[in-house]
């Protein structure tokens, strides 16, 4: 009974999160990075003050984990073309120089620590590979004007 009630609370909290906080973030990639940033590196637990005050810390944690898994699967299902567009949008909104952004993402591969816990290894491997290709395309577009790439 208690488990059912908690599950219902988690569902309500997840809906609340999708509607309020995540509703204001248009790109899946941005939502993914945001949700990963709400997770403590040491404990693996997610924190969100607003959500915890409306529900409870546990329920908020599970709701954030649910939404994180959801966005991860959306990114895995996204074609590379979509990932490239999302990455360019994210880069433009990051206030860093595009060249620096590409260098840091290539060097540090920050997306590797952004996957949800217990993600199946092959899905994660596939997403990392797609990010790598998308980043290579973004980098190439920064170096060459689009028409010269089309002609290559």
């Amino acid at each position: 009974m208690a488990a059912t009630l908690k599950r219902m609370d988690v569902e309500r909290a997840s809906d609340d999160l999708r509607r309020r906080t995540l509703g204001g973030i248009s790109r899946t990639l941005d939502r993914f990075i945001y949700l990963a940033s709400t997770r403590d590196y040491n404990t693996g637990l997610y924190y969100h003050d607003g959500l915890a005050s409306r529900f409870s810390t546990d329920v908020a944690c599970e709701a954030l984990a649910n939404c994180h898994r959801e966005t991860f699967h959306q990114l895995v299902a996204a074609p590379i073309e979509d990932l490239v567009n999302q990455m360019q949008g994210y880069m433009a909104s990051s206030q860093s120089r595009p060249q620096d952004f590409v260098a840091v993402w290539k060097g540090l591969e920050p997306y590797r620590v952004a996957v949800p816990v217990e993600t199946d290894p092959f899905s994660a491997e596939f997403l990392f590979s797609n990010f790598k290709v998308a980043l290579a395309i973004v980098e190439e577009r920064l170096q060459k004007p689009p028409q010269s790439i089309q002609g290559a």
Binding site: A65, S129, I149
Partner: protein
């Protein structure tokens, strides 16, 4: 005298047979739970991580290939093809590993838990054999001709692996997935939030 020798030889033969029977390796109950959890994990890994149609379709989707070919330079196209080949090889190697794990469980432990009739046993053995051959053939094809060379073989492999998984669902049916997950979570690992 001849009769005596015959009886002694017969008795000795029977003793040898009895000794061999006692010494023959039998599936042991010790470690059975561990093997069962490993089999359930292999099954879960196949069903949720390696065989879902949407994931496999994405890996072998040609729309990504078309996009990269039309909008990126040669170097990026090479990176893309190298990555997809690596993924395809990794995918089929993981499928093969999990299928081998199920096969080992089946030959070593499953008789302790589930009674399979001879026809099912033969069908399962044939399914394993054909699936493992198919995995090897796909590995060779991906290696030599790239990830997009054998879409129909990929489809056959998925169907064959799904069939094996269904048979195992029945033979492992008495151990619900949740129990196996609880056992798996009890083992040391990263802290799970949800």
């Amino acid at each position: 005298m001849i009769l005596l020798v015959l009886f002694v030889a017969l008795g000795a033969g029977l003793l040898v047979l009895m000794y061999l029977f006692v010494q023959s390796p039998e599936p042991r109950a010790e470690g059975g739970a561990q093997a069962l959890v490993q089999a359930r994990n292999a099954l879960s890994s196949l069903q949720t991580g390696l065989l879902p149609a949407e994931l496999v379709e994405r890996v072998f989707a040609k729309d990504d290939l078309r996009f990269v070919a039309s909008s990126a330079g040669v170097k990026v196209q090479e990176v893309f093809l190298r990555e997809r080949k690596r993924l395809a090889l990794s995918w089929i190697a993981q499928v093969r590993t999990q299928v081998l794990s199920l096969k080992e469980f089946h030959s070593g432990q499953s008789r302790l838990y589930a009674r399979l009739d001879v026809r099912t046993e033969v069908a399962v053995a044939l399914s394993f054999a054909s699936l493992l051959i198919l995995c090897r053939a796909l590995q060779a094809t991906f290696y030599v001709r790239g990830p997009y060379a054998a879409p129909r073989m990929v489809g056959f492999a998925i169907i064959a692996a799904a069939k094996v998984c269904t048979v195992f669902e029945h033979s492992l049916g008495f151990l619900p997935r949740t129990s196996a997950e609880v056992l798996r979570r009890d083992s040391p690992g990263p802290h799970v939030a949800a």
